[in-house]
């Protein structure tokens, strides 16, 4: 029975990739373990090995094809005694298991795949971007890399350190090309010792250097949280203003995909709790670039919370020489009159989908993208709430003592008389992240939950 070979997923977040090259040709015999093709993700080129043996009967996806979805049949393998005439009989159900990627890092997964272009924000001018500024399409991943490269060119005291940032080009390919441009002195692979290298980075910052410490994910930064809080955040105060730590802690934060409880947590509220830190959580590529450049220049310790799923998303970004956004300032991504939706980071992806459906239902939502968590631009939120009288917050983190909790508190304190409905929040569920696909979906917010919350506060349910 002919076996379909499917486009493999080579990382937890990969949705599609480019079929770069067929190593085997039609008619070639294939043994299990043979490399049959090369697949290019936005992270790396990976070899695909055959799982079964047989003859490559037909190639279904030509080499060079881009955006091939995971699980698309890419070839048909003929078993012993079969010939091409069996191809038509190949039943879809007999699909072979996805081949194993030969180099996929097992524990600290690599992301891949250019995800679809994120919904374009409504045409709301950014006060930080002059009218008529030309725009260019870029991914969040490239925006982060460009921000670091530009700042490293600008200031010799800026350096990058972390696990796999140099020779591997970044576990999530964020630091691609930096080693080549800046050399091993300034792009430094560390041992897998978060506590130690974070303390080392803070010490270097106290001595006046400007380290960028990359955590492969912020889950691993828990090993180092003492140095982030007790050493980096508090020293300026404890030294009476003599010395602080001009340092950026950055990396993937929050849930990725199917990596379960220990690798899926949003730390925004944890760090936002601490005086002496700035906390930034970008959503778009423009957020990522403008805010990371600002964070590197900031004389304070900045916790910069990225998201693996956003890395591959493409956004429009102002095509200007030196694009820097102010930390502590929110952006109204979409103007509206019926309800205010406040979100940040990956929470924005649910919101931007929900507002389209809400608009179709005749509900005009104003969307505030916080960009920074601390300092919190509550003024922009309040101004919007005073206009709409209703507020929904959306985030992936746990609800208890969350950023949403804080926004809800501040809004009732400062705009109580303007509220026409209780404030609702859409958050991740109050459970450790489950592994099973269906449970994981349930644990995260959904577009429907956002829509339902908006309908509830606008009494249109």
């Amino acid at each position: 029975m002919p076996i379909e070979i499917l486009m493999p997923a080579l990382s937890p977040t990969m949705e599609e990739g480019t079929l770069a090259k067929w190593v085997k040709k039609e008619g070639d015999s294939v043994a299990a373990g043979d490399v049959i093709a090369e697949i290019e993700t936005d992270k790396a080129t990976m070899e695909v090995e055959a799982v079964d043996e047989g003859v490559l009967g037909k190639i279904l996806v030509a080499e060079g094809t881009e955006n091939v979805k995971v699980n698309t049949p890419i070839a048909v393998l003929l078993g012993e005694g079969e010939d091409a005439s069996a191809l038509d009989a190949a039943p879809k159900a007999a699909a072979a298991p996805a081949p194993q990627a030969s180099e996929a890092p097992a524990e600290k997964p690599a992301p891949v795949a250019a995800a679809p272009v994120a919904p374009a924000p409504d045409d709301v001018s950014d006060p930080d971007v002059p009218e008529g500024t030309p725009m260019v399409k870029t991914t969040v991943r490239e925006a982060l890399r460009d921000a670091m490269a530009e700042e490293m060119r600008r200031d010799g005291d800026v350096f990058l350190m972390g696990e796999e940032v140099a020779e591997y080009q970044g576990a999530y390919k964020i630091s691609q090309g930096l080693l080549e441009e800046f050399g091993a002195r300034r792009v430094i692979d560390t041992p897998i010792t978060e506590h130690g290298f974070t303390g080392l980075g803070v010490g270097a910052a106290m001595a006046g250097l400007k380290p960028i410490v990359e955590f492969m994910t912020f889950n691993f930064a828990m090993q180092a949280i003492d140095q982030i809080i007790n050493s980096a955040a508090k020293t300026l105060y404890m030294s009476g203003g003599q010395m602080g730590a001009p340092i950026v802690f950055r990396g993937a934060n929050g849930a990725a995909a199917r990596v379960a409880a220990q690798h899926s947590q949003d730390y925004a509220a944890w760090y936002a709790h601490v005086p002496g830190l700035k906390v930034v959580q970008p959503w778009s590529a423009a957020d990522a670039k403008g805010l990371l450049k600002a964070a590197i220049r900031d004389p304070n310790p900045v916790v910069f919370l990225e998201n693996e799923i956003l890395y591959g998303q493409t956004f429009e970004i102002p095509d200007v020489e030196d694009f820097v956004l102010p930390i502590g300032k929110a952006k109204v991504e979409r103007k509206g009159s019926d309800v205010t939706i406040v979100s940040w980071g990956i929470g924005m992806t649910y919101v931007m989908k929900a507002v389209e459906e809400l608009a179709a239902a005749g509900i005009s939502a104003e969307v505030v993208n916080l960009r920074s968590i601390r300092p919190l631009d509550i003024d922009t939120v309040i101004a919007s709430v005073k206009k709409t009288g209703r507020l929904v917050t959306v985030e992936e983190a746990y609800p208890m003592c969350s950023v949403s909790s804080e926004i809800g508190y501040q809004v009732q304190e400062k705009a109580f008389d303007w509220l026409d409905a209780p404030i609702l929040r859409v958050t991740g569920k109050d459970v450790p992240m489950p592994y099973a696909a269906n449970l994981e979906k349930l644990a995260l917010p959904t577009v429907k939950e956002v829509i339902d919350a908006v309908k509830a506060v606008t009494y249109t349910a």
Partner: protein
């Protein structure tokens, strides 16, 4: 081994430094001090001792609050190290930090006023005993979390190498901290990247109330870097000459680009872990033996007199000068106003 054998701190007064290490090194012989060196060491150690005695007194009067860890007994360690270092070398330590600041030539008034939480303190009264800094004097704290300063000090060394400025980061920690995980993460990176860091383990025999023997699987702390290939040696930390000789060698090792070096200073604190520690985990006899037989200041005093380099009157004059400095600092620390209430919200962010 403390108190139970003749191997207690400071006993190895002759050729005390014992060296093994990742790369076996022979320890330097104790070099006799010149008259000037003896006088300098005597004055510096005495300043620390009198300062700490005064701090203890002010604590008893309720003028100093919170935790207050005195350095009495350990003076030779930081003074000998400082005598070997060059201007530009940084120092960082844990919470038993008053002596280090005085050795780094910080103003006793500013240190004492910080202890009393006054605006003229080094941290404007916002840091206290455990959290004081002087960028000007290359003193990077004063850290309250056991072991945290080891990674931070490694970062100072990293900055030195990055800038190729020839400076060495003198990173102090205790026998207790020597069991912390981040210490070994730091050792690994320091040796891997050949960072100029001297790790100075002040082994005063007790991590709070727990003796080294009860906390450490291996008690030769100078060998804690062996698995990384970091050379280390034990030093009689009660003999300022031994400390200086070993420090010079360690600093030179770092400065020449060979990477970090570990010095285990065998020393002793006469007082409790902090002011609130009754120190019931050790005998009065043990303490008394150290004070009478190995006191770092008495050793220098005796040599000064024996060599005819100072008379009793000369030494009294030094003592008087030191007491005046300390009295002045105590006076300042009591009369200087508390920080303005507006300081509550300053220095959080730049």
């Amino acid at each position: 081994m403390a108190g139970t054998s003749g191997k207690a701190a400071g006993v190895r007064s002759k050729s005390a430094a014992r060296s093994k290490g990742g790369a076996a090194k022979s320890s330097p012989a104790i070099v006799d001090f010149t008259k000037e060196q003896e006088l300098h060491a005597y004055r510096q150690m005495l300043l620390i001792r009198r300062f700490e005695e005064k701090a203890g007194q002010l604590y008893g009067m309720g003028l100093i609050g919170g935790f207050c860890h005195l350095y009495i007994g350990q003076e030779a360690v930081v003074v000998g190290m400082r005598m070997a270092s060059k201007d530009g070398d940084q120092m960082i330590t844990g919470y038993r930090d008053h002596g280090h600041m005085l050795a780094m030539d910080m103003d006793p008034k500013g240190v004492m006023a910080e202890l009393t939480g006054r605006r003229g303190g080094y941290s404007k009264g916002k840091g206290g005993s455990m959290h004081m800094f002087s960028k000007e004097k290359q003193f990077y704290g004063g850290h309250g979390i056991v072991g945290a300063q080891v990674s931070l000090g490694t970062g100072l060394g990293f900055a030195n190498r990055y800038r190729e400025n020839g400076a060495v980061a003198m990173t102090f920690f205790g026998d207790g901290a020597s069991n912390q995980g981040q210490v070994y993460e730091s050792f690994n990176m320091a040796q891997l990247w050949k960072l100029p860091v001297v790790y100075v383990i002040e082994n005063n025999k007790y991590g709070m109330g727990t003796s080294v023997e009860r906390a450490s699987a291996t008690t030769d702390l100078s060998q804690r870097g062996a698995s990384f290939g970091i050379p280390g040696e034990q030093v009689d930390g009660m003999d300022v000459r031994a400390v200086m000789a070993a420090s010079e060698k360690a600093l030179e090792h770092c400065r020449s680009g060979k990477g970090p070096y570990i010095l285990e200073m065998i020393t002793y604190r006469y007082r409790g872990h902090s002011m609130s520690d009754p120190a019931k985990y050790r005998s009065k006899e043990e303490v008394q033996k150290m004070r009478t037989e190995h006191d770092p200041i008495e050793q220098v005093r005796k040599r000064l007199l024996d060599n005819g380099w100072a008379s009793e009157d000369d030494l009294k004059a030094i003592d008087k000068e030191v007491r005046e400095i300390v009295a002045e600092s105590a006076e300042f620390a009591q009369t200087d106003p508390e920080p303005d209430v507006s300081e509550l919200y300053t220095d959080i962010l730049l």
